[in-house]
């Protein structure tokens, strides 16, 4: 490796990007010496001098230097700036590896300005410098269970154990963590610890140990309300009230009914799952559950409930009732 290397890591999965950088750092060898040859910079508050010094320094007791620059795009925005960066890259000493880590909010192909930036950057080099690009994107909702299964296997194998997570458990966990690979990794670690790396992780384990997403419970609550199961609704409600911030809980209940009103309206107009997903900008998986639930109500009663929620909301916010009392009353009114 006697040519300067530029590595562009980009995508929505900042965790995976960080992991890749971590691997590069580990590859530098002995941490105490490696530390002297590694610089971390951030494009949000970049000082050109710092970058210059970091990149052009001669490695100390080591063959290479590693310079990471996070969010380069925000430091080099326009075409002019970009030219500067290209020029800078060409002057890199052969012993330096420069890592550009760009964290994106949406996949690169949707993020037009970044994509163009990246292409220009690649083009401008003219082959003098090796530029490698690598994209890391969050697994989508559909792919998350599969991702969880792979990650579980990986984590278990790190301790030389061959245990797995049941597919159902993976799906449940995916539902809980949403699109956040960092939290998923933490939860998987916790689950493996809970089963002591001795047996496969089951749905029960996930429900017992993992962070319960309140959204799921709100769903169950509304389900119970739809079935006029006052006892169950009350039970779930009690749990929610104990564990949740009352105002966010209240917001979630309102949201659920708003979604139901919208879903029901599309259904009444003859729309199917896809239409609802489009109208509500929701994932088909969520919509499927929503449709199930909406079939327990008719539009008229949903609208009435929604108006009632508005009344209760005003009552709560003018100090005439507590959220707990309002929710209790709602349950009784709907199921009593």
């Amino acid at each position: 490796m006697d040519s300067p290397t530029v590595l562009v890591l980009y995508g929505t999965d900042e965790f995976a990007i960080d992991q890749t950088i971590r691997k590069l750092i580990v590859a530098m060898g002995d941490p105490s010496i490696a530390e002297m040859n590694i610089s971390h910079l951030d494009g949000h508050n970049l000082n050109m001098n710092d970058l210059n010094t970091a990149a052009n320094a001669i490695p100390f007791l080591s063959e290479r230097r590693l310079v990471t620059l996070a969010n380069p795009h925000s430091a080099y925005k326009g075409a002019k700036e970009l030219k500067k960066l290209s020029a800078f890259i060409e002057t890199l000493p052969p012993t330096t590896t420069l890592v550009l880590a760009e964290y994106l909010d949406s996949p690169a192909n949707k993020n037009k300005s970044f994509y163009e930036w990246l292409q220009k950057l690649a083009k401008a080099q003219g082959g003098k410098v090796t530029v490698q690009t690598q994209e890391f994107n969050m697994p989508g909702r559909r792919d998350l269970p599969g991702w969880i299964i792979r990650e579980t296997k990986k984590q278990a194998e790190a301790y030389k154990k061959h245990i797995k997570i049941d597919p159902a458990a993976a799906a449940r966990l995916a539902e809980m963590v949403g699109e956040n690979t960092r939290i998923a990794v933490q939860e998987i670690g916790k689950l493996l610890e809970y089963v002591d790396f001795e047996r496969n992780v089951t749905v029960e384990d996930v429900e017992k140990v993992s962070i319960v997403s309140a959204q799921q419970d709100v769903f169950t609550l509304v389900d119970a309300l739809g079935n006029k199961n006052g006892r169950k609704a009350q039970n779930v409600l009690q749990q929610l009230v104990q564990n949740e911030d009352p105002f966010s809980l209240w917001g979630m209940v309102i949201r659920q009914f708003r979604l139901l009103v919208q879903a029901r309206e599309v259904m009444d107009g003859g729309g199917g799952q896809d239409d609802i997903a489009r109208e509500l900008h929701a994932h088909p998986f969520v919509v499927g559950k929503l449709m199930n639930q909406a079939s327990g109500f008719d539009l008229k009663s949903l609208e009435e409930i929604y108006h009632r929620l508005l009344e209760l909301d005003e009552g709560i916010k003018t100090g005439q009732a507590t959220i707990e009392l309002a929710l209790d009353m709602l349950v009784v009114e709907l199921c009593g």
Partner: protein, 559 residues
């Protein structure tokens, strides 16, 4: 000085941590397998064991016992040092008072020094949600990659205040509220060991009062024990000030028996004993809420002592859910009503008077208020009155009543069958509404009004076919009075009144009533205060109306 019981009884071993198996099992396995993570976040309500478990983990991480599974041993020098609070590498930080970015920078600077005694340097940051945003950001990098000898344990009661970036970098453990049984068990053990004489039910009541917090429960036990007397239910009620609950029970009793005088007596008994009127109102609401829970089949959540529970079950059986709701609204209004300041008992007395009879004849009114299909024009003023005495806006009764009323009254009535086109073609009603009623001078009975109120919904339906906006406005009106062939409609706001009293619109309504009920009436619209209806013959913006609005009553009318 004696040590407070809850400090003395802080769990020193994993087994002593009650009710958090899902947390302790995971942490124990991690300790036993030598896989302790570098950042933990403990969240949960107060008194559920977060700090205790954090200290246990700190102790276990540094314990010198040979078998990892046995750590903490509570015998080695480090364990004892932690127990004494003299272990140098256990750093407890109260984020509530060290919440600035400088505090975190200081921490960051010192964290790189190797531990003084043990293997790990352990930072317990309590109440971590109090850190400022900058402080969190400063902590982030350290949290993600602390030096190998450092372990972070963050504890918080308010997980929703922790930034997502911090959440995702810690192994998060959620502590649950302890069950009443678990707390009772713990209390019994403490009472036995400390030789505190106590009744079992008394301990259960303490556990209930603690609402899932061990610390609260043990503190209360400590407080009770300090009197030196045997702890009984009665003592606890006295100390907690829940003694008034007997009065509440009796009050509800007299409501059930429809004995206002007796009810007033109980009310005043409690107030004379020094209970604040709003506190009393809240106690009543709490009890009524418990009745609701029992009614729904969840007596265990009612949080009532056993002997009260029996009576509460009887009460719950005696009242309909609708009646209980009605009572809750009335008394809740009393609890939040600030206007009773000069006469504290007044709002309670009014509430009592309001709940004495479940207004049977009000039930139809229920229908008309909620039957709106398109209530977009529903005024907000009505909404604000929701938790007060309004039974009119109860979807419950609506839900139960609508299907039947629809089923028994299929839309065969003339009004609903009238095609829209016809109605539009002949806007003039067939029956001239203005003269006829005075000619016939119908003698209305109460039942006429009741019938009207009952069928109000159908009338509105008939109106809807002809004039949709009018129907929407009618949602904010309700029949108030029927006198001398004149139907008074009480409107919630000016907008509805103006719309409803337009000549054309009056005709539409008159016709709808005629078609539906065969009653020929004149219609008069007034604004009525939703809380206190003003009689129709009183000038709406006059002194008397104003007086009625603030709670006055007409006792005598002299011409």
């Amino acid at each position: 000085m004696t040590q407070a019981l809850y400090r003395k009884w802080r769990p020193q071993k994993w087994d002593e941590v009650a009710g958090q198996d899902h947390v302790t099992k995971t942490l124990r396995n991690a300790v036993a397998g030598g896989r302790i993570g570098h950042a933990y976040l403990f969240s949960g309500p107060r008194g559920t064991g977060k700090t205790s478990v954090a200290r246990l983990l700190a102790k276990a991480a540094n314990c010198l016992h040979e078998t990892p599974a046995e750590r903490p041993c509570n015998q080695c020098q480090y364990c004892l040092a932690v127990n004494k609070g003299s272990f140098l590498d256990l750093i407890e930080i109260d984020a509530a008072s060290n919440n600035g970015v400088d505090d975190v920078r200081d921490l960051r600077d010192k964290i790189n020094f190797s531990p003084n005694q043990g293997k790990y340097k352990i930072y317990i940051i309590d109440e971590v949600h109090m850190l400022s945003t900058q402080a969190f950001n400063a902590l982030l990098k350290t949290l993600e990659e602390p030096p190998p000898h450092a372990i972070f344990i963050l504890a918080t009661t308010e997980i929703n205040k922790i930034p997502a970036t911090v959440l995702s970098r810690c192994q998060r453990h959620e502590f649950k509220r302890a069950s009443v049984e678990a707390i009772t068990l713990q209390l019994k053990e403490i009472a036995n060991s400390e030789k505190i004489p106590a009744d079992d039910e008394a301990l259960t009541l303490i556990a209930r009062q603690a609402t899932g917090s061990f610390r609260d429960a043990i503190s209360l036990l400590d407080q009770m024990a300090s009197t030196g007397e045997k702890i009984t239910l009665k003592n606890i009620h006295e100390i907690l000030g829940t003694a008034a609950s007997q009065n509440v029970l009796e009050l509800v009793d007299s409501i059930q028996k429809s004995q206002p005088a007796e009810g007033l007596d109980h009310l005043h008994e409690a107030l004379d004993a020094g209970t604040d009127s709003r506190v009393l109102a809240r106690q009543i609401v709490e009890y009524l809420r418990a009745l609701l829970l029992i009614k729904l089949g969840n007596p265990d959540q009612a949080n009532l002592p056993r002997e009260t529970l029996k009576q509460a079950a009887k009460h719950a059986g005696a009242f309909s859910a609708r009646h209980i709701l009605h009572m809750i609204r009335e008394f809740n209004a009393a609890a939040t009503d600030l206007r009773g300041g000069w006469q504290p008992a007044l709002s309670l007395e009014l509430a009592l008077a309001g709940v004495m009879e479940l207004p049977e004849e009000k039930q139809p009114v229920v229908l008309l208020q909620t039957s709106s299909t398109r209530a977009t024009t529903r005024p907000t003023s009505q909404a604000t009155t929701m938790p007060t005495s309004q039974t009119e806006t109860m979807p419950t009764s609506q839900a139960t009543n609508t299907p039947t009323s629809q089923a028994t009254n299929p839309p065969t009535s003339q009004a609903t069958n009238t095609p829209t086109s016809q109605a539009q073609d002949s806007p003039k009603p067939v029956h001239p509404p203005k003269e006829k009623p005075t000619l016939t001078a119908p003698k209305e009975t109460d039942s006429d009004f009741t019938r009207l109120a009952k069928e109000w919904k159908k009338i509105k339906l008939a109106v809807k076919i002809v004039n949709r906006p009018l129907e929407a406005a009618l949602n904010s009106c309700r029949p108030k009075e029927l006198k001398n062939g004149i139907l008074t409609l009480g409107c919630d706001n000016e907008f509805a009144m103006n719309l409803a009293s337009k000549n054309d619109n009056v005709e539409v309504v008159t016709k709808a009533i005629l078609d539906t009920l065969d009653m020929d009436l004149q219609i008069k619209c007034v604004i009525s205060n939703a809380r206190q209806d003003t009689p129709a013959d009183i000038k709406q913006d006059g002194m008397v109306a104003e007086a009625l609005k603030v709670g006055g009553k007409i006792t005598d009318i002299q011409d």
